[in-house]
Subunit: 340 residues, 2 copies
DNA sequence: CTGAAAGCGCTTACAG
DNA sequence: CTGAAAGCGCTTACAG
């Protein structure tokens, strides 16, 4: 199965040069004459020489591998970020190792450790929902460059790349206000979720700036922001004394559940109750009426995260960089609300 | 940034043993006394010793990395396979490097090569659609264990894991026949797509076994089986002299396009035209009417592929294994057809 | 401009 | 049961 492998040594024997020279020629070292370089490179190409990355990495304490941890790889939005990460990393000559934490803190910790042991040059982490428990991330951060993306936490002192959740949520809710809605419900996650917190903050600010009073009865918090929970919360919202005239679900999945339930009860969308989601997932143009939502540029987020990580890896700056990079999300208005 | 790292040497100095002994103790070599083992292991744990995987891999010509290449990582079905791969690989102590070929032959070739150079122990490949050009895959197969999954090709002599496309398509079409449909159209890809070929074969067999004549006018072939193409082909099918009374689209996306177009023309589903898709994607329960489709157990496929690959890696058997593993898909009947 | 030699951290055949 | 030594394939400070 294993075919004989071409090494530096073999090349050097054939060319009657030392391995040092061959190595330097291949790496374009300025000391080497142009003639030698060409000779070496030609032979290398002819013999399909590929450097043994492990010997190289071992020698240089560098693996050119980036570790990525995401909570759930089956989310469409996550895959768009992953795509951006893969693309940008490939361009810069890095490989990517991906793991899924399944929103499980213990699993996340285990992954941080195995990636560490594996010798990745840096890590890109999208946190589990339990952002309270960040000790292990902090510890990892002490050992190598680490950047948070998408699911981030202000409690971790490192560069973070995310969409501007607060502003995007603000835009979504203000849009509802602009089309005349006054009793706007929100379906969000519990407060441990940083993303949910920020979107909720945007919701509150939009109400406040438009002098609409907050009604606690319209604020639904669930453990897990799924389609199913979207349905349940909607049923509940329909049963209260003064039901809402709009529902802002902080994910598209949940918003789809909202719409399905409203339709079940023959409630007019958006006339009686308007609906806004968040993500611009593929579901949003299949559900009827099509869902007004926030488009999140996943690829851009992924690429940005990689760029900053590689910068930190390659500059090896001891200064801890702690940038907050916010990528803009855009409100996309569809039939589940009105054009203002 | 870099903290002092604990090596075998350091441990051996502290314990006043040779590195050989420490190495063997850590690896549970039978020669080492239980007492020594315990002493060594305790210290290793206390000092948070982690072996340098690169030194190890370099030494043993083994990296414990599996390379994965998929055409498109944003497809939901693909992510479920990836999830299965990650899970199973982690259990067996392997890491996974993922790349996306974007259905581009040149990119796939490039990825095969960089993964090779990267020293992966084996590869899991889901082919681009252009399965005609397989030279590079064949060449890679000569150098290390490689297994095809999902998008496979009978022309490549290696183990392949896929769902039983032919039978699943047969079941789907026979279901249409059972509910009384006689003019069943298919929307498929061009013949270079192996998956499409197999599903088409199932379609043909179902017609044949039920004595239904094939009508070439009902066979639509597109370059790319997208939602948009599903729409276009449906418009076309509606315009022909004798339109179909059922449409089998070989992916859910296309089937969604079919349904959207039929609804636009106020055609009753399933009474006038029934629709079947393939994949059981999330769209299938959001589109209305809900889509009858084939459920593909992605995680099972992923896990199976990893299992077989690791077996090949670890047995290093020179015998080329060439198993065809077919995972069963299941027909899920929803409102876009009738219960038989 | 080129080469000899050391060393990265580990494993393992050989010796005792 | 333990150790000394070689070697995996590369890079690089040192020497010339």
């Amino acid at each position: 199965m294993k075919k004989e492998v071409v090494t530096l040594k073999k090349l050097s024997q054939i060319l009657d040069l030392s391995t040092s020279t061959v190595s330097r020629a291949l790496n374009d070292h300025p000391d080497i004459s142009a003639a030698t370089k060409e000779k070496v490179k030609n032979l290398a190409k002819k013999m399909h020489y590929v450097p043994n990355i492990f010997a190289k990495g071992f020698r240089q304490h560098k693996t050119n591998i980036i570790g990525v941890i995401v909570p759930n790889i089956t989310h469409y939005f996550t895959t768009t970020m992953v795509r951006g990460i893969l693309e940008e990393a490939a361009i810069k000559g890095y490989r990517v190792i991906i793991s899924e934490s399944n929103n499980d803190i213990a699993k996340q910790t285990e992954m941080l450790n195995t990636m560490l042991q594996f010798g990745v040059d840096g890590m890109l982490v999208s946190l589990t929902k339990m952002t309270r428990e960040i000790d292990d991330v902090l510890e990892t951060l002490n050992k190598l460059p680490l950047i948070l993306f998408d699911k981030v936490s202000s409690k971790i002192p490192c560069t973070q790349v995310t969409i501007n959740d607060e502003q995007a949520a603000f835009d979504a809710v203000e849009h509802l206000i602009n089309i005349g809605k006054k009793r706007i419900a929100i379906i969000k996650e519990q407060d441990f979720s940083y993303t949910s917190q920020k979107r909720f903050a945007g919701y509150l600010r939009a109400l406040k700036e438009n002098n609409i009073e907050v009604d606690e009865k319209l604020i639904m918090s669930v453990d897990d922001i799924t389609l199913e929970n979207g349905k349940q919360m909607t049923s509940h919202l329909l049963s209260i004394k003064h039901p809402p005239d709009a529902i802002f679900a902080i994910t598209d999945s949940a918003a789809v559940g909202v719409i399905q339930t409203l339709k079940k009860f023959n409630i007019k969308i958006p006339e009686t109750i308007a609906v806004v989601g968040f993500s611009n997932s593929r579901l949003s143009t299949v559900i009827e009426p099509n869902l007004t939502t926030i488009d999140q540029p996943g690829e851009t987020i992924g690429k940005n995260a990689v760029k900053h990580l590689i910068e930190e890896i390659e500059t090896k700056s001891v200064t801890i960089s702690n940038k907050m990079i916010e990528i803009k999300g855009a409100l996309i208005i569809r039939d589940s609300t009105f054009k203002a």
